[in-house]
């Protein structure tokens, strides 16, 4: 039977092919929009399929809808796919962002066709990463997703784009260097297999776990913008074109969190217990540090980039807690941050497209000029600072409560580690206040107050495609915020076996 | 075999090799260097004879002294300009050269001497019977220690070098 998961690679590949054949901008847009819509439909259908499969699967099954084809026999590499609740949600998130991103870049010029080509390649990488359960293919798709960024930023970006694009690419590649080492190490020390499930079953040799864990966590941590490896993110986001910022902050940074979880912690629980505290410190710093740094920035994109550092730090922080609550909080935070940052960047891009500046000091009173965009911005801001009813709140609260939950950590240094984790949980919670500070500061300066620049009065409000794109995101944010147990419905049975595995293999 | 005689012969040959080698790389005039090279090659041939490899010695003289040296002389004549063509060496370059040469010699000497210091075999304790007949058989045989394949292969090399040389040297 045909596995639905392959659709997520096949559809973008076909889109890529179709884009090659297009002759004019109209066709390009039509093809891109069709592809993105198909992906979204497929993602929604996948949720349904997944729930159906989960209902009949025996309890404790790690992955569903699995399928495996031998690819590279000598290294035991398979084209293995499979999903659990986490990846289903990530796929859904990616589909939404790709969909909205396509509309957000509707008027992208010049070289529209090339733009969408790279954009689609990026989405291949993202989807491929989330459906894979084979380390090699995961890594491959991960890198596929990285490199189009260079051109997307370099060609279509703005500002100091060459520097940013290069910095971003090189730093992420640096991360993936560590990752590759770790993947190969895991391969050789877990019975020469690349399959996640088999590795989990075999376990990674204990004496190697610590080193490999650090490599894997740092590798994905770079993408997850973990302090002190986050510095690519502000510059990169600031220079990237709208949809790329959306996709990058919305989805690519999630690859980091997902990877940390799926590879570093899940496969090497022993090391995660032993060394988790180091990264807890780093991610804890990220959370607060990013928020503080965002307070003094004046470029809208920089503010959001630092805010992303803070929020993504929270994701990494949560998965280090190694209990079900915090981890599902992490997944929700990924979803929430993905949607909300995408919305932010979409709106910033639209505002920038009109005012040609991103400096908050040069703008003001936009509420009177472009009410739609402004309201959107406020909603994104409120989601970011954790207004209940929007996605951010649910995610952050789950994380905070999860990090307070009683979890046994096997660690020689810290004992059961609860006090340590609680202390850091409290530190990270302060971010909700700092977030409020910088969000309200921007909202106040940018949207409220008198109109700063009289030339801005002639600007128009959002066009239909912009409205479409932002409204979709807002809806998604609100749905997740109001009905968080929908996400839990998908996640529910996935964490059980994972946490159990982490705890069993911890000693 | 006369041990003393052989020793004397050895000494003469060794001295000649050393002296002419040094001279050929130090003499300022290029033509003289070539000449010293000729003497070195002759000394080498003499060494081969001394060791009992008459065929090799003959080839050495025929190919090197007869062929290559002539080429050298021709090319020197072709390329040298009239007037003072003695070259002067800068001291920096000399230092570099000396460092390399001395270091190389030291390393090789140490390596060889440390490895072969216990070797007591002398020229006289071993017999050497290299006949042209055996050489011919080895050159066209396919057994172990026979060299048909290299012999064929080097013919291709020589052909290639001829083609290459001709093409390069051609005026156009």
């Amino acid at each position: 039977m045909f596995n639905i998961l392959f659709l997520f690679v096949i559809i973008p590949v076909l889109t890529l092919g179709a884009l090659f054949l297009t002759r004019n901008v109209k066709q390009v847009r039509a093809v891109a929009a069709t592809g993105a819509s198909l992906l979204l439909i497929a993602a929604l259908y996948l949720c349904h399929e997944y729930l159906g499969a989960r209902a009949v699967a025996p309890e404790g099954t790690l992955m569903l809808l699995t399928d495996s084809y031998m690819w590279y026999e000598p290294l035991n590499i398979h084209l293995a796919v499979g999903v659990d609740g986490i990846s289903v949600l990530m796929i859904l998130l990616s589909a939404i962002i790709v969909f909205t991103g396509t509309f957000a870049s509707w008027k992208m010029e010049p070289l529209t066709k090339e733009y969408f080509l790279w954009f689609t390649l990026l989405s291949i990488g993202v989807f491929g990463f989330f459906i894979s359960i084979d380390l090699f293919t995961m890594f491959m798709f991960y890198e596929v997703a990285l490199i189009p960024m260079y051109l997307l930023i370099g060609v279509w970006g703005s500002g100091n784009k060459n520097y940013s694009a290069m910095k971003l690419t090189l730093m992420l590649m640096g991360g993936s260097a560590f990752l590759l080492i770790s993947i190969l190490g895991i391969y050789y020390h877990s019975g020469e297999t690349m399959n996640l499930i088999e590795i989990a079953r075999n376990g990674v040799a204990l004496e190697w776990q610590n080193a490999l864990f650090v490599c894997a966590f740092v590798g994905f941590g770079v993408l997850g913008a973990m302090f002190p490896f986050h510095t690519w993110s502000p510059d990169g986001h600031a220079s990237a074109p709208t949809a790329v910022s959306m996709l990058h902050a919305g989805v690519l940074m999630k690859l980091g969190g997902y990877g940390c979880f799926r590879i570093a912690i899940f496969l090497m629980p022993h090391a995660a217990h032993q060394l988790g505290w180091i990264f807890m410190i780093l991610t804890g710093i990220s959370v607060v540090y990013g928020a503080f740094a965002a307070c003094v920035k004046t470029d809208l994109k920089y503010i959001n980039a630092y805010s992303s550092v803070s929020h993504c730090g929270l994701v990494l922080f949560a998965i280090l807690m190694m209990n079900q609550t915090a981890m599902s909080g992490a997944v929700m935070q990924m979803l929430s941050h993905g949607l909300m940052t995408a919305l932010f960047f979409a709106l910033i891009g639209m505002i920038y497209g009109r005012t040609h500046t991103r400096d908050v000091r040069e703008m003001g009173g936009l509420m009177q000029i472009m009410p739609f965009l402004s309201v959107g911005y406020i909603i994104a801001g409120l989601a970011s600072l954790g207004l209940p009813g929007l996605s951010g709140f649910v995610a952050e609260m789950t994380i905070f409560l999860g990090s307070f939950e009683n979890t046994t950590v096997y660690n020689a240094v810290l004992g059961d580690g609860n006090l340590f984790r609680h202390a850091f949980a409290i530190v990270t919670t302060t971010s909700i206040v700092i977030t409020a500070v910088y969000i309200l500061r921007v909202v106040g300066k940018l949207l409220f107050g008198p109109v700063q620049n009289e030339h801005h009065r002639q600007l128009d409000d959002a066009h239909w495609y912009e409205r479409f794109s932002t409204v979709s995101l807002m809806l998604a944010i609100a749905v997740l915020g109001c009905f968080p147990d929908l996400a839990n419905l998908v996640l529910r049975d996935s964490f059980g076996p994972i946490v159990e595995h982490i705890m069993t293999f911890a000693q | 075999m006369n041990v003393v005689g052989n020793s004397i012969v050895y000494c003469v040959i060794a001295l000649a090799i050393i002296v002419f080698s040094v001279l050929s790389v130090t003499s300022g005039k290029i033509l003289r260097a070539a000449t010293y090279l000729l003497f070195t090659l002759f000394s080498t041939a003499a060494l081969y004879f001394h060791l009992g490899y008459e065929f090799l010695g003959a080839v050495q003289i025929a190919v090197y002294a007869g062929g290559i040296l002539v080429l050298f002389v021709f090319s020197i004549l072709l390329t040298s300009k009239p007037g003072n063509n003695a070259e002067r060496l800068t001291s920096k370059r000399k230092t570099l050269g000396l460092i390399a040469a001395v270091a190389g010699a030291a390393v090789c000497t140490y390596a060889l001497f440390s490895y072969f210091s216990s070797e007591v075999v002398t020229l006289f304790s071993t017999a050497n019977t290299v006949t042209v007949e055996k050489i011919g058989e080895a050159l066209l045989g396919t057994e172990k220690f026979q060299y048909l394949l290299p012999f064929e292969a080097i013919s291709v090399l020589l052909l290639a070098c001829i083609i290459g040389g001709v093409t390069i040297a051609r005026k156009r």
Binding site: - | S24, V25, I30, L47, I68, L89, G104, L112, E119, N128
Partner: protein, 103 residues
């Protein structure tokens, strides 16, 4: 005087060192070529000496020397062709002029 192996290796090593020295110091391309010949020649001596003293049962070393002479000849021929060529183009055989491409 026991003429052991090492006695015969000494001149060869010196010859090689001379070759290296000459290669590095000489300016004239042909002089460099001469140095190269010295080096190749010393290797031949090595082979022959080893063969004669240590492994007289076969003729491996001698044959290597034999083929090496042929190779050296081919090399020299080609090298001289190229030297003449460069002389035509650059009107000089000074190696110090051959540094147009660097860094």
């Amino acid at each position: 005087m026991d003429l052991t192996l090492l006695y015969y290796l000494v001149p060869s090593i010196i010859m090689f060192a001379c070759g290296v020295y000459g290669f590095i110091t000489r300016k004239n391309l042909i002089a460099i070529l001469i140095s190269l010949e010295l080096m190749l020649n010393s290797i031949d001596i090595n082979f022959v000496v080893f063969n004669r003293f240590l492994f007289p049962g076969q003729m491996e070393g001698m044959f290597f020397a034999l083929f090496a002479i042929a190779i050296a000849a081919a090399e020299t021929a080609l090298a001289i062709a190229i030297v003449i060529n460069i002389f035509r183009v650059a009107k000089s055989v000074d190696v110090q002029n051959l540094t147009k491409m660097k860094f």
